[in-house]
Symmetry: C2
Subunit: 276 residues, 2 copies
């Protein structure tokens, strides 16, 4: 994204490449997030935003969050950093509300903080950065299948069995512990979702096969990225991450479904300025 | 506890002081745990056990676990340590099954490992030691009220709202993170139980008042110890732990209920041999 100060007050979106997205500020997640920040300042000038999208929307890997986070981060830099990261997350959440109907921080918090982040609570917003093991890589496959957010919500149940919640608590605590102690085996043993995955994965063709081949290929664990349809795996080391990416690809090659594979070390720095 | 080898094979309990407890091996938690260990060895000799109880049973602070853990730890030492800690937890759990009807590791795992311990899973048993912040103290009040285990179980619901489970996940992850980073404020913000405490605390007279005065007195957080009736608080530093103990005492003085207060630094070493 490119963000410039303008004499005219307010926000304008001047250019969008890579995807078809609305330029109207109030219909664009970056615009809405930027407006929320501006509401909380007395800036004498305004800002114009260019958006060059490199991720497809509707993927479950945080495309809208990237735009919302980018807008508030850039404007905050130009204003001389009046706001801390948690405050920026709050502003960016308004963009997420436009994109998904819920002002959640699942994606904007890690986009702004970098690394693993825990959203401990919303009232008040409490974002906790968690240690990121140094050899941890993520491999993500995005099969180009539409999963409607409404569907991925409606499959969730309002009540869950206490017994399953206890298993989930054990695995969650194990995962956090493994991230701090950089115990890859513990991370692997803990990467199980008893609650959401068994329901949401039904909406993602090939999910079970992808999970099976990634674990066989050496992934520490595998699950749904966001509300899908993307599927992530965590891996120890780049070679493992690449092998896992190849294994994921074979499944969607066989299905004849278009797909993208993203491989990345866990980015511990979050959003940053790449050009002065 | 005092444990000696004997020429006669098997386990015998030769002396019990401090509490009225059965000396029959199969009716005593230490005896049952010890027998479970012996079943897994080919020891040419047996063991006799003396138990000198310093904790009242039915307190919720792990009196039975202490006996079960002590028995298996002592015998393992005398045998030349054939078993690791997790295996000892498994044996001791059989003692817990006798005491509470459920072979759980909530108390025997920390008794054997020391410090904070996570029981990540039971199938297979996976016990994870968690970092213990250096200035952390526990203050526990044990009001001498009987809470029947059957009652404390029957108040729990088999299904819980997903929304509450999510709040609990946030706080659990925050607590684990705070323990690793020794962030006392985060530990304090995370010490909330949405699921069990609101139900079980109804069985403990004075719980809400105790919680209120301990937080006012500076405790990081407060909750039910085990299935009660004991109430624990975590505190930063010994002075704070003592103040919190005094605040707890005032409540049960007013109720005219007998009580004990225990104050201790979190013991990071677990069970140990105190006499050769």
């Amino acid at each position: 994204m490119i963000i410039r100060t303008t004499q005219k007050k307010g926000i304008s979106i001047t250019k969008i490449t890579g995807q078809e997205l609305p330029k109207e500020v109030e219909k664009n997640v970056a615009g809405v997030a930027a407006m929320e920040l501006l509401k909380n300042t007395t800036s004498a000038y305004g800002f114009e935003i260019e958006i060059h999208k490199k991720i497809k929307p509707g993927s479950g890997i945080g495309s809208s969050a990237a735009s919302a986070a980018g807008a508030v981060y850039g404007i905050n830099e130009l204003l001389g950093k009046p706001f801390g990261l948690t405050k920026l997350v709050e502003f960016a959440m308004k963009g997420e509300a436009l994109a998904s109907g819920a002002a959640h921080a699942d994606n904007v918090a890690p986009a702004l903080f970098g690394g693993f982040t825990l959203v401990r609570s919303y009232h008040p917003l409490d974002v906790i950065p968690i240690n990121t093991p140094s050899e941890l890589y993520a491999t993500v496959v995005h099969p180009q299948i539409e999963v409607k957010t409404a569907d991925s919500r409606s499959v969730l149940k309002q009540n869950i069995p206490l017994k399953k919640a206890i298993v989930q608590w054990g695995n969650l605590a194990g995962l956090i512990s493994g991230l701090y102690t950089e115990d890859y085996d513990l991370i692997s043993r803990s990467l199980h979702d008893e609650i959401v995955e068994p329901l949401r994965s039904l909406l993602i063709p090939g999910f079970n096969q992808v999970k099976e081949v990634t674990i066989k290929a050496g992934a520490l664990g595998c699950g749904i990225s966001g509300s899908g349809p993307s599927i992530f795996a965590l891996c120890k080391g780049l070679n493992s991450a690449k092998k896992v990416g190849e294994a994921m690809s074979t499944i969607y090659e066989n299905y004849g479904v278009d797909y993208d594979v993203h491989i990345s070390k866990i980015n511990t720095k979050g959003i940053k300025q790449i050009n002065n």
